[in-house]
């Protein structure tokens, strides 16, 4: 990679200040996305600001009907958090499916969301669970957060500090692994909130990234069961087509993974 300057931030304010001082800065959390990109010389930040040791940004809190995951919490710590496993088991399970064990010790929810890879897992959970992304400047609703391929609503220098999830009545995640990258070729998160509303989010199927699936939401709202989706046909229009999966195959996977997620949710 190109030469850069590394800074370790001790607090959120410190991080924002360090970022502003650099001429072309990037935040570094787990580095499991940023560092490979820098190694390929596709990114050349003059400064990298390390958020991973900021105490206020690490931890999982379950309080009543809300789960709050601090942004620099690793996937491993999310997956193994016993309180989260009780409150939203699907979310803990999702974190345990990201990457591989070594990646999970370093990668973070904040990093995953800020990057918005079209095949990342967390965006599906945030969208389906109707979560709120908290930054050092504001709160952003999940529906307003994801703006397309590697693009989010975050402003330059804005730092995700935490993500809060309402505890659902039912939730499940099913992921079909891309044979090479092991990202989601298609992953579907289904959730029914305590009022009975159903939200379904698919990742990996579209080059714009995570998407809601209205036809599946309607079917599940009427009948929360895998068989309710048997007759559904998802359109291949606008879906990704590449050597690993044609658009119609991804459309099929959206349905099949939704069914398996519903079965997982119970």
């Amino acid at each position: 990679m190109y030469e850069t300057h590394y800074h370790r931030a001790s607090s959120v304010e410190d991080a924002a200040a360090l970022f502003a001082k650099g001429s072309d800065s990037k935040f570094l959390a787990g580095g499991q996305t940023l560092l490979p990109v820098m190694k390929q010389r596709l990114a050349a930040p003059t400064d990298v600001v390390d958020l991973a040791r900021i105490p206020a940004m690490i931890g999982v809190e379950v309080s009543g009907d809300t789960v709050t995951i601090k942004a620099a919490t690793t996937h491993y710590d999310v997956a193994t958090n016993t309180a989260l496993q009780k409150a939203i088991p699907a979310l803990a399970a999702l974190a345990g499916m990201i990457g591989d064990p070594a990646v999970r010790y370093r990668g973070t929810i904040g990093g995953s969301l800020a990057n918005n890879d079209p095949a990342a897992d967390y965006p599906a959970a945030v969208l389906a669970l109707n979560a709120t992304v908290k930054t050092n400047k504001r709160s952003i609703n999940g529906d307003d957060f994801f703006k397309g391929l590697f693009t989010t609503a975050l402003e330059d220098g804005e730092i995700i500090t935490a993500v809060s999830f309402p505890v659902p009545a039912k939730a499940g995640y099913a992921k079909f692994r891309h044979p090479a990258s092991r990202f989601a070729l298609t992953g579907v998160f289904v959730a029914k909130d305590k009022a009975g509303n159903v939200r379904v989010a698919a990742t990996g199927a579209s080059s714009s990234g995570v998407m809601r699936v209205p036809s599946i939401e309607q079917a599940l709202k009427a009948n929360w069961s895998a068989s309710a989706l048997d007759g559904i046909r998802i359109s291949a229009d606008g879906l990704l087509s590449d050597i690993h999966g044609a658009a119609d195959y991804r459309a099929n996977l959206i349905k099949v993974m939704a069914q398996r997620a519903v079965t997982e949710a119970g």
Binding site: Y2, E3, R41, F176, P179, A180, S181, A236, I243, H244, G245, A246, A247, D248, Y249, N252, L253, V256, Q259
Partner: protein, 781 residues
């Protein structure tokens, strides 16, 4: 069998350094004053190089030199060679274009080098390489066989009109025509053998050092055959005369064929080390491995089998197009001809065979031998064809094979190969039993009731290994002989060194070769040191590939041992005042049979080296050398049966069982043999389900990292069930056949046969990804 002799599953001596992180791979080596090389590579598949501007790069920190393809030509460094002359049907020699180490005028594949930056650190070399400005004039590219042979296609090399290197054939066209005219049934199959990237886990690397006082080069290289590297670098690339070039292949992290060839990078490193008069190190990254390591396979074929009314095969006709990539690599010409078509008879008694192979240039990475080299392509073809035939003729696939098995040996096939021995029924029977073939219909029905599609598939493979009898391959166009050498040195106080021309890059020779000595002399393997991989230490050898190390390398060791034992017995007899004929060797002692008179090996050695009391006329010392030239190929063979389940919702294939019954002749170390089979099967399964090097129409390699090229992981493959049947190889003193490539040769057909059985659709190409299988079940959109 002694505790550490032939047949013992001894743990490996070499493991100690690998498990403690003390292996010595090329990139681990640091020399004083070492510089680092970074190549400037073409982003275009086909382009003219109009000019190279190094001025900005030269000003950057740490840059020692920027060298170009034109400079290599000016210094009269030779072009890369192809070492096997294959002619077309009409007798014309193969049509080859020139391959310079760095392109002075024309680049012909993405990743081909045009210049190299030499700098103090790797990062500085990378930074400066980006500052080298190359003026390319893009040319139209032909990225695949179909595009390359189309009328009006862009031509890669003026020497090869129509991009055809050769149009070769083997067998009897008239006999096959006759057989087909009499056939009761004909089965036709079109199939592709997908292009693969070998991807040994260690990327290629080279360090070159020039001693200007001695005018002597040393090269550390990731090579499977350091002596061949030295020969080629010297005699063809004009780097230096052989006696002024030392090549060392230290620990090498896997090869699978890709590290046989002598690549541009090591040539350039050597040439550059003299130009800058400092050591030059190049370590490839994984992307460079994808772009510049020799790829494997890439055939498109049409095959037809003719049967009589009793379902016995009358004839086989094959037409294959083989992709060579942009340049002819070292052994490339032999892979789709003499290593492929000569195995098309499979395990079957086929009276007439005719195969045509057209070798084609395309704007893609050069293609050469990769684990199996031609035999996976042949085995896949004949075994898919046999399974397809069983389905079309409505007979059991095991029984159709059995009906056509060769049962009398030696068996001369119509395609040069004469199989020495084998028992194909024995391996088929063993595999059928282990997989519980009789119980399959019930298992399939149960799976169906649970919504899964279960299938079973066969592959009865045979291969030609122990490459190879020199005279035979010479008559077929090989530029080299394929014998092997060994030197046995008994040291003055009795330890033994075996200097072998073979090279271990995972095969465990430091243990298995020592076991040969332990078996013969009764000494522990800790007393025996295997020396390999250094042209200064070991006499010329041909290296390791083609499952040859024990069959050929081991036999050379045996021959040298026989000479050592004969001399040692003479010395012992003289010392013990007995007849030579009464001396036997047991537990490291030379004994007079029927008495308690003995002399230990260390004392015999001491006697040899002090020479105080040797038989009249005997030279001092106890060291002998041998060159062993095999009389025939060896023919490992066996049956693989694969049972799988397809999830119809996703098209994903899971393994229920994978059974292998192999006949490798004598097993020296069964644990190591099984490890070779596991690894080969996993590569064969990788080809069938996961792997495929894909080019887009402009010649860009779309699968140029592990993100897009699916390497088998632990959860992609099952725990294998291995067994062995044995017919000893009559052709070499050890009775061994070789085992390194079998898995990669036989596995793919078993997997594809099983999946097509499960889904009831015989049209399925490799890799049978979930996407492809799902479409084969549900149809294209």
């Amino acid at each position: 069998m002694g505790v550490e002799g032939i047949g013992a599953s001894v743990v490996r001596k070499e493991d100690k350094r690998f498990i403690t992180g003390k292996g010595r791979y090329v990139d681990d080596i640091k020399l004083q004053g070492m510089t680092h090389a970074q190549f400037v590579r073409s982003p275009h598949a086909h382009a003219k190089v109009k000019g190279i501007d190094s001025s900005a790069a030269l000003k950057m920190p740490g840059v020692v030199a920027v060298l170009t393809g034109q400079q290599i030509v000016d210094d009269k460094v030779g072009n890369l060679i192809c070492g096997w002359a294959v002619s077309s049907k009409d007798g014309t020699p193969m049509k080859m274009g020139a391959w310079p180490a760095m392109a002075p005028e024309t680049v012909r594949f993405v990743g081909q080098a045009v210049a190299v930056v030499i700098a103090e650190t790797k990062n500085q070399a990378k930074d400066a390489a980006e500052a080298v400005v190359v003026d390319y004039e893009e040319l139209p590219a032909v990225a695949n066989i179909r595009a390359a042979i189309a009328p009006g296609a862009a031509q890669l090399h003026p020497e090869a009109p129509g991009n055809v290197v050769y149009d070769w054939a083997i067998g009897d066209e008239a006999a096959v025509k006759d057989a087909f005219s009499k056939a009761a049934n004909v089965v036709t199959l079109e199939l592709t053998n997908n292009r693969l990237v070998p991807n040994a886990m260690e990327p290629r690397a080279a360090i070159a050092e020039y001693n200007d006082a001695e005018e002597h080069f040393t090269l550390y290289t990731t090579s499977q055959n350091p002596h061949v590297a030295r020969l080629v670098l010297s005699a063809f690339y004009n780097i230096a005369p052989e006696h002024k070039l030392r090549v060392i292949a230290p620990d090498v992290g896997g090869g699978f064929g890709s590290k046989i060839f002598i690549y541009p990078e090591e040539m350039v490193a050597l040439w550059a080390s003299k130009k800058v008069n400092r050591p030059v190190k190049w370590t490839g990254d994984r992307t460079e491995a994808f772009l510049t390591d020799a790829h494997g396979r890439d055939h498109v074929s049409k095959a037809e089998l003719a049967f009589d009314k009793d379902n016995k095969i009358l004839g086989l006709r094959v037409k294959t197009h083989a992709n060579f990539g942009a340049y002819m690599s070292l052994f490339s010409s032999s892979v789709p001809t003499y290593l492929y078509a000569t195995l098309l008879s499979g395990q079957y008694n086929i009276p007439a065979i005719y195969a045509e192979v057209m070798g084609v240039y395309t704007n893609s990475s050069p293609v050469d031998a990769y684990r199996g080299a031609g035999r996976p392509e042949a085995s896949f073809l004949i075994e898919r064809l046999m399974e397809t035939s069983a389905r079309q003729l409505k007979v059991d696939p095991a029984e159709l094979r059995r009906k056509n098995f060769i049962t009398v040996f030696p068996h001369q096939t119509p395609v040069i190969m004469a199989y020495d021995t084998g028992d194909f029924n024995a391996s088929l029977d063993a595999a059928l039993k282990t997989v519980d073939y009789a119980g399959f219909p019930a298992r399939q029905a149960k799976a169906k009731s649970e919504g899964k599609l279960r299938g079973i598939g066969f592959s009865c493979y045979i291969e030609a290994c122990g490459i190879a009898p020199s005279k035979a391959v010479g008559s077929l166009g090989a530029g080299v002989g394929l014998w092997e050498s060994a030197e046995v040195r008994v040291n003055p106080v009795g330890t033994i060194e075996i200097l072998t021309g073979s090279h271990s890059h995972g095969q465990g020779h430091e243990t298995t070769f020592a076991q040969l000595i332990s078996e013969r002399l009764g000494v522990p393997i800790s007393q025996v040191q295997i020396v390999h991989g250094d042209t200064d230490k070991v006499q010329f050898g041909m290296g390791t590939y083609g499952s040859r190390s024990l069959a050929v390398g081991g036999s050379a060791i045996i021959k040298a041992m026989e000479k050592v034992e004969a001399k040692a017995k003479k010395i012992a007899a003289h010392q013990l005042e007995a007849s030579e004929d009464d001396i036997v060797i047991e537990n490291g002692e030379f004994k007079v049979t029927g008495t308690d008179k003995s002399i230990a090996l260390p004392m015999v050695a001491l006697a040899a080296y002090t020479a105080h009391n040797l038989p009249d006329g005997m030279e001092p010392g106890l060291k002998e050398s041998a060159f062993y030239d095999p009389s025939n190929f060896t023919f490992p063979a066996g049956t693989y049966i694969c049972e799988i389940e397809v999830d119809p919702g996703t098209g994903k294939t899971s393994f229920v069982n994978f059974v292998a019954a192999d006949d490798f002749g004598r097993l020296i170390n069964p644990m190591i043999v099984e490890g070779q089979v596991h690894g080969g099967l996993t590569q064969g399964i990788g080809q069938a389900l996961l792997e495929g090097a894909v080019y887009d129409d402009s010649g860009q390699l779309v699968t140029a990292s592990f993100m897009d090229y699916a390497m088998p992981r632990a959860d992609d493959v099952p725990t294998y069930k291995l067994q062995h049947t044995t017919t000893l190889c009559p052709g070499n003193p050890l009775g061994v056949k070789g085992c390194g490539e079998a898995g990669a040769i036989g596995a793919s057909a078993a997997v594809i046969n099983a999946i097509t059985n499960a889904i009831g659709n015989n049209k399925l190409e490799m890799p049978a990804t979930p996407d492809r299988v799902w479409h084969a079940i549900h149809g294209q959109a």
